[in-house]
Structures are given as structure tokens and as C-alpha cells.
């Protein structure tokens, strides 16, 4: 009896620690899984529709830019998904490695291309890829002390091959273009 109470207390204590438990959830499209993971791990909420719409409009242009041509190449982009977390706390008390392993376990079927963590600046960037037939799903996750962003785009193999040459710049190229308004 005492033992089970002790175990219950231990479980409650673990639950009380922010981000201390591995996040378990149903396997979905990857994008939704990552957004949920971030929400559960950091106890934050992602932004609503207006921003998504704005980002979505912008991202169509992005794909054209990435593919190095005019907007007629927009079709290469396919669907674009953006989730933005603004003005929330992502300071994690050095739990980067735990978050990274949670990401890897949530994104089964995706290949991690690049993972960068700068604990001093409280910044993390992850890029995952998934073969989607004629196109590739590319997911970019950027986390900073007060904001985060998840972007998923579909890229043609030719566009992806071009970006592969500088994987360290790929995340920035996709995220900045996907979340910056043309008029800004």
C-alpha cells in the first residue's frame, strides 16, 4: 500500500514538472503532431487563423522564390501549413535533448536533416523531410526564447536538391519567406 502511494506521488511529482514526461499522442500528419508536442512540452498555445492566412498567402510566393523562378512555379509548393507561437515562454532549463528526442519519436517516417540547438541563446532549429511521392514534405521548426514557428511546405525534388547544398540556411529561407508579409 505504502509502495503504491509512493509511486503515485512520484508520478504526480513528474507530472508537476514542466515538460518532464515524454509526450504521447496519436500519429498523424506530422505537422499537427509537432504543434501538439510544442504545446504540451512548453505549455504554450499556437496562433489562430488570421496569421495562418497571412502566412499561407505569403508562402505561395516563397515556393516560387525557392524554386528560383516566377510565380507560375507556385504549383510546386502544394499545401503550406504554418503554426506560430507569439510572445510565449520557451525557456526550457536545458531540456533541449529531451525535446529533440520527443520530436524524433513523434516524427516517425520523417528524416531529420539538420538539428541545431543554441542553449545560450535559447534557440533551436529542426528540419525534417519526408518523401511524398512526386514531392517532398519539408518541416521547419524554429524555437526562440519568446516565439516559435512550425512551417511545413511541399517542395519539388529539384527545389529541395538546390536547398540541400546549404542545409544550415534552408530553415531560415523557408521560415522567413513563409512568415514575412510581402509588404513588410
Amino acid at each position: 500500500m505504502k509502495k503504491s502511494i509512493a509511486i503515485s506521488f512520484a508520478v504526480l511529482a513528474l507530472l508537476a514538472l514542466p515538460g518532464s514526461l515524454p509526450v504521447t499522442q496519436a500519429r498523424g500528419d506530422g505537422f499537427g503532431d509537432v504543434v501538439k508536442l510544442i504545446e504540451q512540452f512548453y505549455h504554450v498555445k499556437h496562433q489562430g487563423i488570421p496569421l495562418l492566412a497571412r502566412a499561407g498567402l505569403k508562402t505561395a510566393t516563397t515556393a516560387a522564390r525557392i524554386s528560383g523562378g516566377p510565380r507560375r512555379q507556385i504549383a510546386e509548393a502544394g499545401s503550406v501549413k504554418v503554426a506560430y507561437f507569439d510572445d510565449q515562454d520557451f525557456r526550457s532549463n536545458s531540456s533541449y535533448t529531451r525535446f529533440k528526442s520527443s520530436m524524433n519519436s513523434v516524427l516517425t517516417g520523417w528524416s531529420p536533416l539538420i538539428q541545431v540547438a543554441s542553449p545560450k541563446e535559447e534557440a533551436q532549429t529542426y528540419i525534417y523531410l519526408r518523401d511524398a511521392g512526386e514531392k517532398f514534405n519539408v518541416m521547419v521548426v524554429t524555437i526562440e526564447p519568446r516565439e516559435a514557428c512550425v512551417v511545413q511546405v511541399n517542395l519539388s525534388p529539384a527545389s529541395l536538391a538546390k536547398l540541400m547544398r546549404t542545409p544550415d540556411e534552408m530553415g531560415n529561407t523557408i521560415t522567413v519567406d513563409a512568415t514575412t508579409n510581402d509588404n513588410e
Partner: protein, 194 residues
């Protein structure tokens, strides 16, 4: 008589089974010994102390994709030629705020793999910032099947692993591409073997 023949049969079966196990183990060990992919997961513990960690994984399918779709202009054609036949590029680096954040023991998991006779150290060079660069090649028969670089500085560790036919010249030309950092290897004079 029957008992004796049964006993002999049992002994023979046991010996055959043991031989089969040894053969399987031997084949597995050989396969592992000839694997040009360096395992870096044991360095993960350093991530907690690092001010920046970078992990680049370009596996065989992504390499194939890059090779297939690059080549629209001269620059791309040159890169395509360089990476042609490569089966993977993997880079892991740790930067630290201060010195003394890692020891030789931390690097042992990498060095122990590179001590395998399949690997030959072709370069040991001093780096610009009080560190060293070790370059290793793995040969499979007459062909190079992999390359590994262990670059250490007082506040930085970088492990580069290229799987496939690659040599030092290709490595220097690939610096700055596919997540491979600038190593400044051009002036290095190759030394032969350990």
C-alpha cells in the same frame, strides 16, 4: 553401441551449431568493421554542456535526390560531379563557451571506431585555433568507401563522416557545402597511416 553413436551424433551436431554461430558472428563483425558510417550518438551527452550543437544528416536517399536533380548550371554540375556516388554526409559539431568542457574520454567513442584496421589515418594537422584535425579513409578493396574527420579545438568538436567514394581533394572542395564546415585543409601535407 547405439548409445555411443547417439553421443557422437550429438557432439557432431553441437560442433556444427557452434561453427555456424561463429560463422554468423564473424560475418556480422566483418560487416560492422567495413561499415564506413561512424556512430556519433555517444557524443550526445556533450549537448548539455555545449553552447551550440549542429547535427546534419544527409542520408543515401537524399544524396541520390541531390545527385539526380543538381546540374542546371556549371556550379551545380561541378557539385554534382563531386557528390556523385556518395551515399551520405553526416556532420556533428559542438561549440562550448569555455575550455575544458570535454576530455579525450569523450572522444574515445569516435576514436575507437577509427582504430579499426579498415580505417587509415591520412592526415593529422594542427588547426588554426590550437586544435587538431585528423582525417581518416576507409578502403574496401581498392576503392575508398568512406571518410571521417575528427576536428578538435579547445572550445569545439566537429565530426564529419562522408560515406562513399571520396578523397581529400573532394573533401576540400566540399567545404562549405552540405553542412560541411570550412576546415582549412588545403595547406595540409598528407601523412601516411597511423
Amino acid at each position: 553401441m547405439k548409445l555411443l553413436s547417439r553421443t557422437l551424433l550429438k557432439i557432431a551436431s553441437a560442433k556444427l551449431a557452434a561453427l555456424a554461430v561463429l560463422l554468423v558472428l564473424g560475418a556480422t563483425a566483418t560487416a560492422m568493421a567495413q561499415n564506413p558510417r561512424i556512430q556519433t550518438s555517444q557524443l550526445e551527452g556533450l549537448a548539455a554542456k555545449a553552447s551550440e550543437t549542429v547535427d546534419v544528416n544527409i542520408d543515401e536517399s537524399l544524396m541520390a535526390l541531390t545527385i539526380k536533380f543538381l546540374g542546371k548550371d556549371d556550379d551545380e554540375r561541378k557539385v554534382k560531379e563531386l557528390v556523385s556516388g556518395l551515399k551520405g554526409i553526416y556532420v556533428k559539431s559542438f561549440e562550448f563557451e569555455s575550455e575544458g568542457q570535454y576530455t579525450d574520454a569523450d572522444l574515445e567513442s569516435i576514436r575507437s571506431q577509427l582504430r579499426n584496421p579498415a580505417w587509415s589515418r591520412i592526415i593529422t594537422a594542427k588547426s588554426k585555433k590550437d586544435g587538431s584535425i585528423e582525417v581518416y579513409l576507409m578502403h574496401t578493396g581498392a576503392q575508398i568507401s568512406g571518410l571521417a574527420v575528427l576536428a578538435t579545438e579547445l572550445k569545439e568538436i566537429t565530426v564529419i563522416n562522408i560515406v562513399g567514394p571520396v578523397d581529400l581533394e573532394k573533401l576540400t572542395q566540399l567545404e562549405g557545402e552540405f553542412g560541411i564546415p570550412e576546415l582549412g585543409l588545403e595547406g595540409s601535407k598528407p601523412k601516411r597511416k597511423n
